[in-house]
């Protein structure tokens, strides 16, 4: 199974561990992720807030490259996913925009590329049964709060799950590797990522609430599928603890890291060491 892989800027930098664990898991499961040649910025938040054409053209350039390769495009970053899938939809619906974009990027894009999140590939192309069979080190009932954030589930048209209010995709995946997913109400809550720079206090409040809710739900750790979410929950956790005086101590993994461990991959290969909040307690269970 071969895919065009779009890492995006986060996975090359702050979310290096997401990239490492994704690649390791893909390899272990026989998923061939071929990095999209000459990929460029997806446009992420700033572009679509300022310029509709730019917001469509940036992802369209990458989609056009993928189209030539005839493979589905696989994305891990939730923001990249949102931009690429969103542009795909906008271009499919708007022929005028298609023409404008073609002029801007200097190539045609017919809209034929399927943009898929890595979670979807695991669930749909590999399947729970296969993953269950491959587990060599089951998670032994570790309680995980699966956290999707806002971008993977909204808007409805782009949602990677069938029920945006109550997704089960990650839960099913993690229960297949022996984790116990907790039911909690903040699965798709916003962590405040777009205010990371401008209103860090807001981000702290929102992320803090998410962490507290996960903790109260009985989770031992959080599984994230978005580099921005993971950063906010993990990196800011100590700061949040300091300002509220409340200990949280919830490791925030990428779901790929938990999956990789269950498949028997090494912590080094999965970038576990890059986590800020100490995952030791969870991993030694």
């Amino acid at each position: 199974m071969k895919y065009s892989f779009f890492p995006g800027c986060s996975l090359e930098s702050t979310a290096k561990d997401y990239l490492m664990s994704t690649q390791a898991v893909a390899k272990a499961l026989g998923i061939q992720l071929e990095e999209l040649p000459d990929w460029t910025c997806c446009g992420s938040t700033p572009a679509h807030a300022t310029d509709a054409l730019l917001a469509a053209a940036l992802p369209a350039r990458n989609l056009a490259i993928a189209e030539g390769r005839g493979q589905d495009m696989v994305v891990c970053c939730a923001a990249c996913y949102g931009r690429l899938a969103g542009a795909n939809l906008a271009l499919a619906e708007d022929s005028h925009l298609r023409e404008q974009v073609a002029a801007a990027i200097g190539r045609e894009y017919s809209g034929g590329v399927k943009v898929r999140h890595f979670l979807q590939v695991l669930r749909e192309d590999i399947g729970l049964a296969e993953i269950r069979d491959r587990v060599t080190r089951p998670l032994g009932g570790t309680k995980v709060a699966c956290y999707y954030g806002c971008l993977l589930t909204r808007p409805k048209e782009l949602s990677i799950v069938d029920d945006p209010e109550d997704p089960q995709l990650m839960e099913e995946l993690l229960s297949a590797i022996g984790a116990e997913s907790v039911e909690w109400p903040f699965k798709t809550e916003c962590c405040g990522a777009s205010f990371s720079i401008t209103r860090a206090d807001t981000v702290k409040r929102l992320s803090g609430e998410i962490l507290r809710m996960a903790k109260e739900s009985g989770a031992d750790c959080v599984a994230a599928a978005c580099p921005l979410c993971q950063t906010n929950l993990d990196l800011r956790q100590a700061d949040i603890e300091r300002s509220t005086g409340e200990r949280i101590g919830l490791p925030v993994f990428y779901f790929t890291q938990l999956l990789g461990r269950a498949l028997g991959l090494s912590d080094e290969a999965l970038g576990i060491g890059k986590l800020i909040t100490d995952p030791g307690r969870v991993l030694t269970r």
């Binding site: 049964a129 296969e130 069979d133 029920d163 209010e165 109550d166 089960q168 809710m213 109260e216």
Partner: protein, 1490 residues
């Protein structure tokens, strides 16, 4: 009340009239679609006025949504208590045929003469036989969410929808057969045995398993479990361990002994070749059918591949031996070491046997056909493992390679390890995903240390000195090409040769058939050497020879082989009996489609998640507790599992699982559509968490929570843990006023429903605090605002605002709602959240509309002409209830009567042509005969008999005075019992009847009818309720219950000894109507009645017709028809001066310009309308810029609305409404205001329109006008009643300023309007008190007329024969006024259609000697029955039988004891009490008391 069936205007003496078949004559029958309150009302009105009614209902019971409600507001009546009598009335009415679970397939023909094709779904329970005793429920093992309680409780697959269900019979819910069953080659009823295990019914489970499986325990060990692969649970979590449960049930049975009688042998003999699963499967079936079976087995031991192929660590040999022995015990002869072929051929067998079954299996290994296969160490797998399994010596190397990936490969690999191999590697050319072996076997193999190598294919075997040393292999990859098996084809990678070293290679790559049994080679084979058979019958090319199993299919599975054996056996049976081999059979297994699976997945979503993890079995299988827990994980995909436990339990033999859908054609003259509504699916508003958070419920669920008969017995508790709910939030408009979900209209009923639920909940639990989050509060109906204000006073909190989401707090499962208070966000948690889900047309209703051919509107409701009130786009088809527009119960009931009236108009010539009347023999006169009482005591199946010792009751009753006969019956109400009762009455010359059974509420009429058919007066029957009031409530005290039952019967016998025949009397009916008021409602009513052929006197106090009707064209149309109608007399400028008489025979004095006139009439309709309040506020009448909404409309109609450019128009709502003086909503003003705002904005886009309101009450589809008004730019600003807008001069000489507070800003805003429009409310008509006095009909606190019952009798007065309609009832828009007018006409027709009325019977009777004319009775009687009469010389009270409803209030209140209620006289009541005290007087009772 009136007992006997009243005759209609035609005179006939036959039991059922044949309809006259002339082309002009319409059909005197109506089809009413929908058995909710609307359909019931239409049906009753029609049937009570001479029409035959077919009442068609989708569900198994009538009653609709109303039956699910707890209480109705504002009166707080129990919904069921007021609905049930109507349901019972429907079933008792001879002219209503109720067809449940039915739907319309097609409607053809013309108005007056329609033909309807109906389909009635199978109920699987015969309504005629079912006694609703509930014995079936007790044994049903399936638990599914109870739809009636909206999933808050569970019910059984066979169940009664509610305790009060009508028809009073059970029903079985079935889906398609569960996927586990469909997936099984043997079609084993897995759902049934799992369900039975879940209820601890282990023996029954084993019995079910054995029905289809001759080798159940073997299958319990080694079946390949296709059932589990298809299990719904497997799609998310782990499949139910069906195989392990099977093993458990059979082992449990073995431990507890099982009895099976060998069947008697028949002479027809059948030979079976091979004792493997196919042969044994065939042998078992044939032996059980009584055939003589001989099995020829080539080997010295039986079992075929089960013995030689499956190692004993997977299938213990004692299990195999035991099950084979069990088959032999059926009389099967087993001949081992008897190969067929050389010495004994198939042809020879056919001489001695009627038929032959070939089930020899495929016991030869198929080679790979590659180089080196002849090397020492390369072994054919089947032959190798056979030797092992037969205990023969085998060699094993140190390093073993097994080629192949099926179960055989796993068995060989694991056996090799056990034999001492150091290293075992399984080599497979595809990936793990494609492995045919059972994943559990693979897992076990891996766990034992077997290595698996994938995408690797042997190219050749390498050897040295003739001995194997290794295998040269190629690496493979899966191509995109898919092969015949549906898997991707593996292709070799060039140059990838490598060597796997081994000293032993065992081939498990396929099986082949050894055709030695067919030495003559007479049977046809295919290119793979397998026998060629018919796929359905398994017949070979030789007649009488059948084949199945691996010999036909190649390497298959155990269960497939058994199934093939059974299939062939059935063919053999047919062959021997000369029957068609193929008829009614098919080869296709009915596997579920992906879509069907998805649908179920959605249904099971929540439950599935809770039950996703398997209960693990130990090595020795499940313990009983584990098995039950595991079995409870089953989701009951098929609902009913057809275990047949109910059939065994049903004593009246009412259950038939073989029932099929029926089609039927009927002829009707008109159709009424009343299919009701469905609730919005609250899951679509995912932000509220419905379906995920157990403590978020819908309003219907909350009604069930509040209901005493609901899942929690009326305690307000949280579904999550059953704790008390004290903080409850209601969220309004969930799926209403929600254009984004395609529901732009208002559902009309939710505001009041929520307020009522809040008030009722607060009364249930002290300290309970209810909060209602709402946008507007739409309390627009009669007395609604009073109720709203009272709720506020009772502490119900109202918070204006739309809730964006509900968050379930971890741990506590409390629910957090965030809202804005005083401009700041607030988080508040609640115990329970109730979603006020909106009303939407049901899918079934939309399908019905399409079948019937009526148009629907943009919101999906039935399109109806605004002025036609109940008409649809198809002539002769009418609509009633929420299918036309969301509406409350009274509007629904009124529209139902209106639709009935329209049907009556259409079919007036056919009235009485299709009705059935019951003709009785003359009554015997028992006067002065001593009582001879017959007592019938009912077992009610085991309902009574399991608690009360019925025999003891019978014995005791036989000793009671006057009892001439006493016996018990299984079911006193059964048809055959009625015959028995009749015979007994005649044989024993009984003159009184006592039935000791259930409640008179449902059954008294039946027994009275039976008595009447024997010439007994119906009042000579009494009942003792020894079920509801005895066995059911005292089930823990059987002895005391028996005592009590005897006492109850004793009382009934005592009273019966004093019962007397009561006579009824027929009074002629004056078939004309007097209508007061010539407005829209009065005119509509007049036209309808006249069109039905009744004379109408229409009295109008003004000089013109029309009342407040503004629509000139409508007015002209109505008035024109009216004045030209020959049956209508209009009396303008006239008033009612005096009203005398009673229902059927009123006499009125009218004051007319021409003097006084006397009118005789059978009914009176009060349609006196209302008036518009004249404002005194806002400079009305002082400033020319201030007008009323009505005046604005008039100006716009005239075109005289003169406005400057960029004009500002302000409207103020609720002027003179909803205040202390008039504390009611006028219902019409908001609608008028938004419509006028739209008109102004459309004609003058430059104008600004500002509407100042308190709540915008544009209910129903009027909401669309409100939406449009906002879209065209009208501004809506809310004001608080304690801070209303002010309109006054700002400073002297300047034009006045309009000042109001913008509530969100909290700041004052000023406007200088060019036009100020006041929405002045409505007021009751001034002469209402006079009419109230004259007609003795009540007014409510606001001065409007008060109907008999605000919910179910909206246009009736409590006094019979008097009706009300229109704004005399309460303010309402024209279309609703006209609807009520029609409704009143429909109701009136139930009286006018009769030539005579039956009066008397159970009525009050005055002893004039004792009466002192104190008027107490006159005051207490709600019906105005007692009247002071001077007819006998003195002024004494006389109770008019025609008005008396037999309630007994007068008898109870009379201080002089002058009044007795007949049938409940003091003597009769005292006799019951005396009987209880065992002092029944044996003096001869008085038997005439007339």
């Amino acid at each position: 009340m009136h007992y006997s069936n009243t005759p209609f205007s035609s005179t006939s003496t036959s039991m059922s009239k044949s309809k006259s078949k002339s082309t002009d004559q319409p059909v005197g029958a109506v089809m009413v679609c929908g058995g909710g309150i609307a359909g019931i009302q239409s049906a009753l009105d029609l049937a009570n006025s001479g029409f035959k009614v077919y009442l068609i209902e989708n569900s198994p019971t009538i009653g609709g949504k109303m039956g699910q409600l707890d209480k109705t507001f504002p009166t707080g009546d129990c919904a069921t208590c007021i609905l049930s009598p109507k349901l019972v009335e429907c079933t008792r009415n001879l002219n209503i045929e109720i067809l449940t679970q039915s739907e319309v397939e097609e409607l053809t023909g013309m108005p007056g003469n329609f033909r309807v094709k109906l389909r009635q779904k199978a109920r699987y329970v015969d309504i005629g036989k079912c006694n609703a005793c509930g014995d079936c429920e007790k044994v049903c093992p399936v638990r599914v969410p109870d739809e009636f309680n909206r999933g808050l409780s569970t019910t059984t697959a066979i169940h009664k929808v509610t305790a009060q269900a009508v028809p009073n019979a059970h029903v079985i819910d079935k889906r398609k057969r569960a996927p586990c069953i469909s997936a099984c080659p043997l079609e084993q009823n897995a759902q049934a045995y799992v369900a039975l295990i879940s209820q601890g019914k282990l023996a029954e489970a084993a019995e079910i398993i054995r029905q289809d499986n001759p080798l159940p325990l073997i299958c319990g060990y080694v079946c390949h479990r296709p059932c589990e692969a298809e299990c719904q649970q497997a799609r998310y979590g782990e499949a139910v361990s069906i195989r392990a449960l099977k093993r458990f049930a059979i082992e449990h049975e073995a431990a507890n002994g099982n009895a099976g009688e060998p069947p008697a042998l028949r002479v027809d003999k059948v030979a079976i070749i091979g004792s493997g699963p196919a042969g044994l499967g065939a042998a078992d079936w044939l032996a059980r059918k009584g055939y003589g079976v001989t099995i020829f087995e080539a080997l010295a031991v039986p079992g075929g591949m089960m013995r030689i192929g499956v190692p004993d660590f997977r299938l213990p040999r004692e299990v195999l031996d035991r099950e084979i022995q069990q088959i032999c015990d059926l009389g099967v002869e087993l001949k081992c070491s008897s190969p067929i072929g050389r010495d004994l051929t198939v042809d020879q067998l056919l001489k001695d046997y009627k038929a032959v079954f070939v089930g020899v299996g495929a016991q030869k290994s198929a080679g790979l056909g590659i180089e080196g296969e002849d090397l020492q160490g390369v072994r054919p797998g089947i032959e190798w493992i056979r030797r092992v399994n037969l205990g023969e010596p085998v060699q094993i190397g140190a390093r073993v390679a097994v080629i192949g990936a099926g179960n055989a490969a796993m068995d060989i690999a694991r056996t090799s390890l056990r034999l001492g191999a150091k290293e075992v590697t399984v080599v497979y050319r595809r990936t793990k995903r494609e492995m045919p072996a059972d994943p559990a076997e693979v897992q076990d193999a891996i766990a034992e240390g077997v290595k698996l190598v994938f995408l690797t294919n042997p190219k050749r075997f390498l050897g040295k000195d003739g001995k194997l040393t290794g295998i040269e292999c190629l690496r493979m990859e899966l191509s995109d090409e898919v092969d015949a098996s549906g898997r991707r084809r593996p292709v070799p990678i060039e140059g990838s040769e490598h060597t796997i070293e081994c000293d032993e290679a065992i081939l498990a790559t396929g099986q082949a058939v050894n055709t030695g049994f067919d030495d003559g080679a007479s049977l046809e084979t295919n290119k793979w050497g397998l026998l060629q058979v018919d796929p359905v019958t398994l017949a070979t090319s030789i007649p009488g020879v059948f084949a199945g199993g691996d010999v036909v299919a190649g390497a298959g599975t155990l269960s497939e082989a058994v199934a093939a054996g059974r299939r062939a056996a059935e063919s053999i049976g047919r062959f021997i009996n000369d029957e068609d081999l193929a008829e009614g059979r098919s080869a296709d297994p009915r596997i579920w489609t992906e879509d069907e699976h998805r649908e179920l997945e959605f249904i099971h979503k929540r439950e599935r998640r809770q039950k996703s993890v398997r209960v693990q079995a130990g090595h020795d299988g499940y313990t009983t507790e584990q098995a039950i827990a595991e079995a409870q994980r089953c989701l009951a995909c098929g609902i009913c599992c057809e275990c047949m436990e109910c059939v065994k339990a049903c004593q009246p033999r009412a259950i038939d699982h073989e029932m099929v859908d029926q089609t039927r054609e009927i002829e009707v003259g008109a159709v009424i559509l009343a299919p009701g509504y469905e609730e919005f699916d609250a899951r679509l508003r995912g932000e509220f968490g419905f379906g995920r958070y157990p403590n978020v419920v819908t309003n219907i669920q909350f009604e069930r929570i509040l209901s005493a008969s609901g899942p929690f017995g009326g305690h307000v508790v949280r579904p999550s843990e059953g704790g008390e709910a004290k903080r409850i939030a209601f969220i309004q408009c969930v799926g209403s006023r929600d254009a984004s979900n395609g529901l732009p209209y208002c559902s009309s009923v939710c505001c009041m429903a929520a307020i009522k639920e809040a008030v009722v909940a607060q009364s249930h639990t002290p300290g309970l605090a209810a909060t209602i989050f709402h946008t507007d509060i739409r309390a627009f109906g009669k007395d609604f605002d009073r109720y709203y204000e009272r709720a506020k006073a009772d502490g119900v909190r109202f918070i204006r605002g739309m809730v964006s989401r509900v968050v379930e707090m971890p741990g506590s499962q409390d629910l957090r709602i965030s809202y804005i208070r005083d401009g700041k966000p607030v988080d508040e948690t609640f115990d329970l959240v109730v979603l006020s889900t909106g009303i939407r047309p049901s899918q079934a209703a939309l399908e019905l509309a399409e079948k019937v051919g009526v148009e629907i509107n943009e919101c999906g409701f039935c399109r109806s002409d605004e002025s036609a009130t109940a008409a649809t786009s198809r002539d002769g088809v009418f609509v009633a209830g929420a299918f036309q527009e969301p509406k409350d119960i009274p509007e629904t009931v009124a529209q139902a009567s209106a639709a009935a009236a329209m049907a009556m108009e259409l079919l007036a010539p056919a009235r009485g042509s299709m009705i059935t009347e019951r003709i009785y023999p003359p009554e015997h006169d028992f006067t002065d005969e001593p009582p001879r009482i017959g007592v019938f005591i009912c077992h009610c199946g085991i309902n009574i008999a399991s608690v009360v010792q019925v025999d003891e009751v019978v014995e005791a009753v036989r000793k009671m005075p006057f009892v001439a006969y006493a016996e018990s019956q299984m079911y006193a109400c059964a048809d055959n019992t009625q015959d028995e009762i009749k015979r007994t009455i005649e044989e024993y010359r009984l003159n009184r009847l006592v039935v000791a059974s259930c409640t008179p509420r449902t059954h008294e009429a039946l027994f009275r009818d039976t008595a009447r058919e024997c010439g007994l007066n119906p009042f000579l029957v009494d009942m003792a309720n020894i079920r509801d009031q005895c066995s059911w409530v005292h089930s823990n005290e059987p002895e005391a219950a028996t005592e009590k039952a005897i006492d109850l019967v004793r009382m009934a016998v005592g009273r019966a000894s004093r019962l007397v025949s009561l006579s009824t009397e027929e009074l002629p009916v004056t078939q004309s109507a007097l209508i007061l008021g010539g407005g829209p409602s009065g005119m509509t009513a007049a036209l309808s009645l006249a069109n039905q052929g009744y004379r109408v006197h229409l009295v109008e106090k003004s000089d013109r017709l029309g009342g407040r009707l503004r629509d000139q064209s409508l007015l002209e149309r109505l008035a024109g028809k009216l004045t030209n109608h020959p049956l209508i007399s209009v009396y303008p400028e006239s008033r009612l001066a005096e009203l005398k008489g009673h229902v059927g025979n009123f006499t009125s004095e009218l004051t007319t310009p021409a003097g006084s006139r006397t009118v005789e009439h059978g009914v009176l309709l009060v349609a006196t309308g209302g008036i518009e309040h004249t404002p005194t506020e806002y400079l009305y009448g002082q400033d020319s810029r201030v007008v009323t909404q009505r005046e604005l409309e008039a100006r716009m109609a005239e075109g005289s609305l003169d406005l400057p450019d960029n004009a500002t128009i302000a409207m103020i709502q609720c002027v003179g409404s909803r205040n202390e003086e008039r504390p009611f909503c006028s219902r019409v003003c908001c609608i008028d205001a938004v419509k006028n705002a739209v008109k102004i904005k459309k004609s003058r886009p430059d104008a600004s329109v500002v509407v100042l309101y308190r709540d915008v009450r544009t209910y129903g589809l009027n909401e669309l006008y409100y939406q449009e008004a906002r879209e065209v730019g009208a501004l809506f600003v809310r004001y608080e009643p304690d801070n209303p807008p002010a309109f006054a001069e700002a400073s002297a000489g300047k034009p006045p300023l309009l000042t109001f507070i913008e509530p969100e800003l909290g700041l004052p805003v000023t406007l200088r309007p060019d036009l100020l429009v006041l929405s002045a409310g409505m007021a009751p008509a001034i002469d209402n008190p006079d009419i109230s006095e004259l007609a003795k009909v009540p007014l409510n606190n606001d001065g409007f007329f008060l109907e008999a019952h605000v919910k179910l009798r909206p246009v009736d007065f409590a006094s019979e024969g008097i009706f009300l309609c229109g704004s005399a009832h309460s303010p309402k828009p024209t279309v609703e006024n006209m609807q009520q007018g029609l409704a009143a006409a429909g109701r009136a027709a139930t009286i006018l259609s009769k030539k005579t009325l039956v009066v008397g019977g159970q009525v009050g009777h005055v002893d004039v000697r004792k009466c002192v004319s104190c008027l107490t009775c006159v005051r207490v009687c709600p019906y105005g029955a007692p009247e002071i009469s001077a007819s006998n010389g003195k002024n004494r009270v006389e109770i008019q039988a025609a008005k008396c409803m037999g309630c007994g209030s007068c008898a109870a209140e009379c201080p002089a004891k002058a009044i007795q209620l007949r049938h409940f006289t003091d003597r009769q009541v005292a006799a019951a009490i005396q009987a209880l005290l065992s002092v029944i007087s044996d003096q001869s009772p008085v038997t005439s008391e007339r």
